[in-house]
């Protein structure tokens, strides 16, 4: 058994001690190497109210077996002593004591932008997040996000849409063990990000999602980013925690303006009112990063042009979700004519349906 393997096993076991949080873990590991700390824990000689409980757990654990388990799962265990530990996190206010990584850490060697937002987003919001993800990845900017439902997931889907030659890989930061895809329906996305980019977590394998882990996860997202972009957020959303973490680190926050009638844009509009720069296209982000935009205008409009009725219907949307009934009242078209027009617009990709609501689609992927 090599020394590094034993260190990795010890570090992983330390991160999994019952009741240990990011701060306590970082404190324990502040100066010493993980093996030495582990020996102290086994002996019950750490200065902590949990020391006895930890010692009981620790005596039953085997660092070598733990290290083998992580090797088997292809998850790297990094402490600040490791050369591979991301420099940007090592320099942070609250660096994770132990960082678990799946995939290529080289994905972090690009300019990085965090795209965050609400899980309960509008289709328009998700569509825009996807567009940002795609264009930033194409421009060589790494997208950091939390793989949650809604905006987070959509941003990374955009990154994966753009997968190609000159491309920045996705960076996912999650709040639970790297073998516990959460939400479960994001398993394919989770795997794709792990294979093509990097997945990071400070929770050991098998750790279930717990409410306290998500704000801690948001701090890592903020720490990794050069810029934070909030696409949609409710008035008191979790993504505003990421914003607070970013501001505490002096990292610039940008926000996407939304309709004043969209409750999922209340938080972002508030950010704009407080002085954040607005994002209306990926170029705004590139400019904020000091990169030169241009040269990549979005793909030419491939959708067949709508007919007269279609144009009337599109205008009636006013970029807000609408039901069939609202469209009837606004256009004055007969229900049959309108319904046919709606079906044609759906087919052509001008609008999309979510339940009984229809939304305009700004541009096609």
């Amino acid at each position: 058994m090599t020394a590094t393997m034993s260190a990795a096993g010890s570090a992983a076991l330390l991160a999994g001690l019952p009741g240990i949080g990011p701060n306590r873990l970082a404190e324990l590991l502040a100066d010493d190497d993980p093996e030495a700390v582990w020996q102290l824990v086994v002996a019950g000689r750490v200065d902590d109210p949990h020391a006895e409980a930890w010692a009981a757990v620790a005596r039953a654990a085997d660092p070598a077996a733990e290290a083998a388990r992580y090797a088997e799962a292809e998850v790297r265990v990094l402490t600040r002593a490791d050369a591979a530990y991301p420099a940007v996190l090592a320099a942070d206010l609250a660096p994770p004591g132990v960082l678990f990584a799946r995939g290529e850490l080289s994905a972090l060697e690009t300019p990085r932008v965090a795209i965050v937002g609400t899980r309960r987003c509008t289709g328009t919001g998700a569509g825009f997040a996807r567009e940002l993800g795609r264009e930033l990845a194409t421009a060589g900017v790494g997208v950091v996000s939390g793989l949650a439902l809604g905006i987070d997931g959509a941003a990374h889907r955009g990154v994966l849409d753009a997968a190609g030659v000159s491309w920045a890989a996705p960076i996912g930061v999650v709040g639970c063990g790297l073998d516990v895809p959460y939400p479960a329906r994001h398993r394919p996305l989770w795997d794709a990000v792990g294979e093509r980019g990097v997945l990071l977590s400070e929770a050991p394998l098998g750790a279930r999602p717990a409410p306290w882990r998500f704000p801690a996860r948001n701090r890592i997202i903020a720490a990794l980013a050069d810029l934070v972009v909030v696409v949609e957020s409710h008035a008191a959303g979790g993504s505003l925690l990421t914003v607070t973490e970013a501001i505490g680190r002096g990292i610039e926050v940008l926000a996407v303006p939304g309709s004043v009638r969209n409750p999922a844009a209340a938080g972002t509009n508030q950010l704009l009112a407080e002085g954040c720069h607005p994002v209306t296209a990926a170029d705004d982000i590139l400019v904020a990063l000091g990169m030169v935009p241009g040269g990549r205008r979005s793909a030419a409009e491939r959708r067949p042009a709508p007919d007269d009725d279609g144009r009337r219907v599109l205008e009636a949307f006013d970029w807000e979700p609408a039901t069939l009934e609202q469209l009837v009242l606004r256009t004055g078209l007969a229900l049959g004519v309108l319904a046919l027009s709606v079906q044609q617009l759906l087919d052509a990709g001008w609008i999309m349906a979510q339940g009984s609501w229809y939304e305009r689609v700004p541009s096609v992927p």
């Binding site: 609400t118 899980r119 309960r120 987003c121 509008t122 289709g123 328009t124 919001g125 998700a126 569509g127 996807r130 439902l149 809604g150 997931g153 959509a154 889907r157 994966l160 849409d161 997968a163 939400p183 329906r185 394919p188 996305l189 794709a192 949609e232 969209n262 409750p263 999922a264 844009a265 979700p321 039901t323 069939l324 009934e325 609202q326 009837v328 009242l329 229900l335 049959g336 004519v337 309108l338 319904a339 046919l340 027009s341 709606v342 079906q343 759906l346 087919d347 349906a353 979510q354 339940g355 009984s356 609501w357 939304e359 992927p365």
Partner: protein, 508 residues
């Protein structure tokens, strides 16, 4: 000494002829009821005794055995009281068997001798022979619906005894006063704006398509549903009799004329049990709400609040138009062909269907969504979002089209369906759709596109074609179905976004 008196007992919605036999012999005074009586039937002893005594008759202090034949039929309720009392009088020699003749007796007795109505008089009368029937006065109208029966409506036991003794002539029913026209039900003219919801209601009525109304609280879902009976055609003679039988058996109040002509509207609360909804109960096998809604409308408000088990019990009756209720004692088939209208909020907070509008947690939404099974949701051919009418509509506009005018179109479309050999377009068999609902070239192309894009499943296709048939009929009945008709049918069949946000599919 023996007394024999014919009567009838109710089971499900069927009456069964019962002969009440009373035997009195010497021995210690006792009173036994045999022949599958239930508890309320056994309690007849106390009611009959008090009624006889307060009507000036004697109660024999001997051994009394009451047999309700045939014993295979379970007898439920107090409806045999009057027959038992008369049989007692015969058996104790107070009147003769000849005086009874072939008369049957129906009615519950009060302690003062009053004869009270029993549930299911219509069904019970049906089951009895052609002899005269002695029954409580309030039941005469209902029994009269059977026709060609001699009825003797009575008020109390003393009156019956007087007639049996020959002291008084048997009373005859007073002529039924002509039923006043039914009071106007809620009119569609009260509904302002909401053109799509109104149209969906019209399509539901015209084609017999089940309708699901989605929308936030206060959007007017209940108001719309309550106006459905007003646009449905009145019941035919056969339908009216069937529905009246069910209501009679369930002990529900009948209209003045006796016969139910307006399609019934039943709106059980979501606290209703499965038995209350589909019928049953241990003894009586009473018709439930879905049978009471036979040939009418069953409205389930707050659909997702109904226990899932109760809702799934609706699936079989929805397919078959009848519900088979089986119990250890027996099983009965109760008619239950109804138009199902349901209303629900899209999520617990009620604002969830508008993208970005929901305030519920993920788990709350998931729990809410799980309450509705896919197969049940699939039964709704029409699923529309009801949005709150705008202020301008509420205050400014003309009143909407009246129920009477919509009902005329509905009746025409129903006639067309009858000419196609079905009661309504929703019953068109899939194999006949090509013949009776041919698609125009454009409509075929639209459906091809929609199927290919995955917005419609193969199973949904037939349902959309039936709804499109109804929409085409409403718009003047061209033989061929156009693209606009199909598109409208698709627009009226949204997938409730119960489990949003709609996942953006992962590319590649």
């Amino acid at each position: 000494m023996l007394g024999l008196v014919p009567s009838a007992s109710l089971f499900g919605i069927d009456g069964h002829a019962v002969t009440v036999e009373v035997h009195i012999s010497s021995g210690l005074p006792s009173f036994t009821v045999v022949g599958s009586p239930d508890a309320s039937c056994r309690e007849a002893r106390d009611r009959v005794r008090a009624a006889l005594l307060s009507s000036g008759c004697e109660w024999p202090l001997q051994r009394v055995t009451v047999n309700l034949a045939p014993p295979t039929v379970r007898k439920v309720g107090p409806g045999l009281d009057l027959a038992i009392a008369v049989a007692m009088l015969v058996a104790s020699g107070q009147i003769t068997q000849q005086a009874v003749g072939d008369r049957s007796f129906l009615g519950e007795l009060g302690l003062d001798g009053a004869v009270r109505p029993v549930a299911g008089t219509l069904c019970l009368t049906d089951a009895l022979g052609t002899g005269a029937l002695v029954l409580p006065v309030p039941s005469a109208v209902e029994a009269g619906l059977v026709g060609d029966r001699i009825l003797h409506p009575v008020r109390n036991l003393a009156e019956v005894v007087a007639c049996l003794e020959g002291a008084d002539p048997w009373p005859v029913p007073s002529p039924i006063e002509v039923a006043p026209p039914p009071p106007p039900t809620d009119d569609l003219a009260d509904v302002r704006g909401q053109p799509v919801a109104r149209f969906a209601l019209e399509v539901a009525a015209a084609g017999g398509h089940h309708l699901l109304l989605l929308g936030p609280p206060g959007a007017g879902k209940t108001m719309l549903a309550a106006r459905l009976p007003g646009v449905l055609p009145p019941l035919s003679d056969g339908e009216a009799l069937q529905t009246t039988r069910v209501h009679s058996a369930a002990g529900l109040a009948l209209p003045t004329g006796g016969l139910i002509r307006i399609p019934p509207f039943r709106a059980p609360h979501h606290g209703a049990s499965a038995v209350a909804l589909v019928g049953g109960g241990t003894a009586l096998l009473r018709p439930g709400e879905i049978s009471a809604a036979h040939n009418g409308v069953l409205f389930l408000d707050e659909l997702a609040e109904f226990p899932p088990r109760v809702l799934d019990a609706l699936r079989q009756p929805l397919e078959e138009g009848a519900v088979r209720v089986a119990r250890a004692v027996a099983s009965v088939s109760l008619p239950a062909r109804f138009l199902l209208v349901a209303a629900m909020n899209p999520c617990p907070c009620g604002y969830g269907s508008r993208p970005g509008g929901c305030r519920c947690t993920d788990s709350a939404r998931a729990r809410y969504a799980r309450r509705l099974s896919g197969p049940l949701l699939d039964r709704f051919d029409l699923r529309v979002e009801v949005t709150r009418p705008s202020v301008e509509d509420l205050l400014g506009h003309q009143p909407g089209e009246s129920s009477a005018s919509v009902a005329r179109r509905v009746a025409e479309v129903r006639d067309l369906a009858v000419r196609r050999g079905v009661r309504s377009n929703s019953e068109l068999p899939a194999r006949r759709l090509d013949e009776v609902a041919p698609l125009s070239h454009d409509a075929t192309r639209l459906l091809t596109d929609v199927l290919r894009s995955g917005r419609l499943s193969a199973r949904g296709l037939h349902r959309v074609r039936r709804v499109a048939r109804t929409i085409a009929d409403l718009s003047g009945a061209p033989h061929e179905i156009g693209a606009a008709h199909v598109a409208t049918a698709l627009g009226l069949r949204v997938d409730p976004a119960l489990d949003q946000p709609a996942p953006v599919e992962l590319a590649g």
